[in-house]
């Protein structure tokens, strides 16, 4: 198998590390070589966070090269515009239709661009835009928006649904297994 490259971006605190971890553990279970690059520390304090997840027969670098990401998944739509150049020509952009103002925007120092969705689609025709937060809210917990998005992502990969559910079960806090599985299925069946 060719290496699959998934770039996940968003804002610190949105559950990006856990999402990467679930994909990574699934890939290990499937017998693939896996590399994940994460961001810890200062950048996590409400700043931009990006992780690179790569799996395949043999993976060298933990970082995805420009133009080589098969899927980019963003938890906040503005972040999508920062990484469009990472996508392959046929790459898929999965966008959580959610706006979090960076502090300079909230304070009026700079402006949140208009029509972010339009700009995303212009750059990446294969875009899936979904309001994962709304779905998570319907399930009663904002925090599972990451597993909703994971479900959307899973649909794009040729891996059995049950394997995903097993990986979720093994990696989320035990109290939240059912909630997370439901969230995943909501995204998967969307």
């Amino acid at each position: 198998m060719e290496t699959i490259n998934i770039l996940i971006a968003g804002v610190g605190g949105q559950g990006i590390l856990l999402t990467s971890k679930i994909i990574g553990h699934l890939a290990i279970d499937l017998g693939y070589d896996v590399k994940i690059s994460e961001v810890h520390g200062m950048a996590q304090r409400g700043g931009s966070v990006v992780t690179h997840v790569r799996f395949g027969k043999k993976v060298n670098s933990p970082l995805i090269e420009i133009g080589k990401a098969d899927i980019i998944m963003v938890f906040e739509k503005l972040e999508a515009l920062k990484y469009t150049h990472y996508l392959t020509d046929e790459g898929i952009m999965i966008v959580n239709d959610h706006r979090i103002d960076p502090l300079p925007v909230a304070l009026g120092y700079s402006e949140y661009p208009d029509n972010v969705e339009g700009k995303i689609c212009e750059n990446c025709p294969e875009s899936i835009i979904i309001d994962a937060l709304k779905i998570a809210r319907e399930l009663g917990n904002d925090r599972v928006l990451n597993t909703v998005l994971l479900g959307v992502l899973a649909k794009q990969l040729d891996i059995e649904r049950d394997k995903w559910l097993k990986a979720i079960e093994e990696n989320v806090p035990p109290r939240t297994i059912d909630l997370n599985k439901n969230a995943f299925l909501m995204g998967f069946d969307k």
């Binding site: 994460e38 810890h40 700043g47 993976v59 960076p102 502090l103």
Partner: protein, 575 residues
């Protein structure tokens, strides 16, 4: 069995398998998780030391006493530990001593991007550089072998991308390590001039032997493919190079100090165009050039920032680097969290028009607009000494506009001696200690004033008020970190007092688990749009040109904004 592991977790696993008995550290990104993972192994004694110097000294004691020992820190922590480092290079070890130092090329979370390789060279200590988690684990085991075989401490140099990348690791069985017998030997362990002169000769012999043996070391390896391009590299750039130029031949160095001259020469002779691919300063490249070996192109990479497969490809193939997207996107800098106890002091500092010598921690973010509450950030503990220096330079009257601001963990790390200096040398500075009951920035590590050890056991609580008083500060006041009115009044009084004073602002980090408080909302009928509340840079507060609102899903309920609002327009939501 294979497991997916963070590079830092793999270091911890390596320590476990190597039979390490004692592990010490002071937290610092990107090294922190090493010791947090080590603490999960019951058979290893692990501690947060107050700072890196103490951590290394504890480690040296443990090694000389006969136990395999690992000491971890971030790159700038090694500056603090440099004093013992240079001399333990002379004494050598008894049981193995491995020092893990995590560099931060690109400065994801650091104040500089210094290169630990030069420390190895300066202190005559070998340096190993893993490129992934498997190597991180293996090199710890190898590090202990080298340490004991050559009677030397060994540095393992990590970088952010190795520390914070996950990759697969084959687990091994833990070794049983008996304590090595301690033998009193003042010629080896007491570094007075007469003994140190003799030891320096031993050190030189050791490093010569290591440099020779490095040519046989299997972690220094040549991988031949197409011989048109040959790349000498190490660490994570090795992996980038393999992605960038899969056909190239590579000399992968697992040990970057001392360097294996014979292999380097052999490799150089077998390839047409020789390149060195390394992050930060040209450490390997300078050595290769000093050997008289001709590189196809020199100084190919910037001395700052991280490399990537894209950068390596573009520079070696002399192609243009692919551009960033043309879309103009506002940045998203890190910010103090909603409910953070550090905002109040900055609000008061700005309102009173003060300057502040700042320090290292989450609160360094208070330098950014709109808080703009600190003027300087140099290193751990610097705020206090600097405030004193500023007073001595400006004179008493003109220095009344200056204070020092430092966090609790940073104060214990290296602020205490600065405060002693102020008292001893008759300074009159006002120092604010922001006591959030944890080491915040690195992700909530315990410290001597939190009442818990790294292993989660109860510990005596260092009483900051009594400590400061014992140093000789007579004016100590403890203030609620959210009470901006009081903070302002106390600041005003203390900066004008002709004596040194300490203000301790207490408020636990907003990310520590506490009972959820009801959020606040803005009563738009009462709001006059004065914008005072938006000046505290709270992510929950935003304005859109028409009104200011609080996002109740983000609001932590700390009430700082309500304390600031003179129109009483900010109210707590009722249950």
């Amino acid at each position: 069995m294979k497991r997916l592991m963070l590079g830092n977790e793999a270091i911890a696993r390596g320590a476990y398998e190597a039979g390490v008995k004692v592990a010490t550290a002071y937290p610092g990104t990107p090294s922190t998780e090493i010791t947090e993972y080590i603490a999960r192994y019951d058979r290893i004694y692990a501690e947060w030391s107050p700072n890196e110097k103490v951590a290394l000294e504890v480690g040296i004691g443990s090694s000389i006493a006969g136990a395999r020992t690992i000491v971890s820190m971030k790159h700038v922590g090694l500056n603090v530990a440099a004093d013992p480092l240079f001399t333990v290079g002379y004494t050598g070890v008894n049981a193995g001593l491995v020092i893990v130092v995590a560099d931060d090329p690109g400065m994801h979370s650091s104040q500089n991007e210094q290169n630990t390789r030069y420390y190895g060279q300066a202190a005559n200590i070998p340096i190993l550089e893993p490129s992934n988690s498997q190597e991180a684990k293996d090199y710890v085991l190898r590090g202990f072998e080298i340490s004991e075989k050559y009677d030397t401490p060994v540095i393992i140099r990590m970088t952010t991308r190795v520390s914070h990348s996950q990759s697969t690791v084959e687990l091994g069985e833990p070794m049983e390590q008996k304590l090595r017998a301690y033998k009193k030997d003042i010629n080896k362990y007491v570094m007075m001039p007469a003994m140190a002169k003799v030891r320096h000769v031993v050190v030189e012999e050791r490093m010569n032997r290591l440099a020779k043996d490095a040519n046989m070391l299997d972690i220094n390896k040549m991988e031949f493919a197409d011989r048109k391009i040959g790349i000498i590299t190490s660490g994570v750039p090795y992996l980038y190079a393999k992605d960038a130029l899969p056909e190239a031949s590579i000399l992968k160095l697992g040990m970057v100090y001392p360097l294996p001259d014979d292999i380097i020469r052999e490799f150089a002779n077998k390839v047409d165009r020789l390149y060195v691919v390394e992050e930060l300063e040209p450490f390997i490249e300078d050595h290769v050039k000093a050997m008289g070996i001709k590189l196809y192109r020199e100084n190919l990479f910037s001395i700052q920032g991280e490399l990537s497969a894209n950068i390596i490809y573009a520079n070696i193939m002399e192609k243009e680097l692919k551009e960033e997207p043309a879309i103009d996107v506002p940045g998203r800098p890190p910010v103090l969290c909603p409910g953070c106890p550090h905002r109040g002091i900055y609000y008061a500092v700005k309102k009173l028009g003060l300057h502040a010598a700042g320090d290292i921690g989450c609160y360094t973010l208070g330098a950014l607009p709109p808080l703009e509450g600190i003027d300087t950030c140099i290193c751990m503990g610097a705020s206090i000494g600097m405030a004193h220096g500023i007073e001595k330079a400006l004179g008493r009257d003109d220095s009344k506009k200056w204070i020092g601001i430092i966090g609790d963990s940073t104060f214990i790390h290296s602020g205490i001696t600065g405060l002693i200096d102020i008292v001893y040398n008759k300074g009159m500075s006002t120092i604010a200690i922001l006591d959030n009951s944890t080491t915040g920035m690195t992700g909530h590590q315990e410290h001597p004033a939190t009442g818990k050890t790294l292993k989660g056991e109860p510990a005596p609580v260092l009483n900051l008020v009594e400590l400061v008083k014992a140093i000789g500060i007579k004016n100590v006041e403890v203030v609620d970190a959210y009470d901006v009115v009081k903070i302002e009044a106390v600041l005003k009084r203390e900066i004008n007092r002709d004596a040194p004073s300490v203000i301790i602002l207490t408020g636990p980090c907003a990310l520590l688990p506490t009972e959820k408080k009801q959020p606040f909302v803005i009563n738009q009928d009462m709001c006059t749009y004065c914008n005072s509340c938006s000046q505290i840079a709270c992510p929950a507060i935003s304005e859109d040109g028409k009104e200011i609102t609080i996002d109740t899903s983000l609001c932590d309920g700390c009430g700082l904004c309500a304390n600031i609002c003179v129109f009483n327009a900010i109210e707590r939501l009722s249950d």
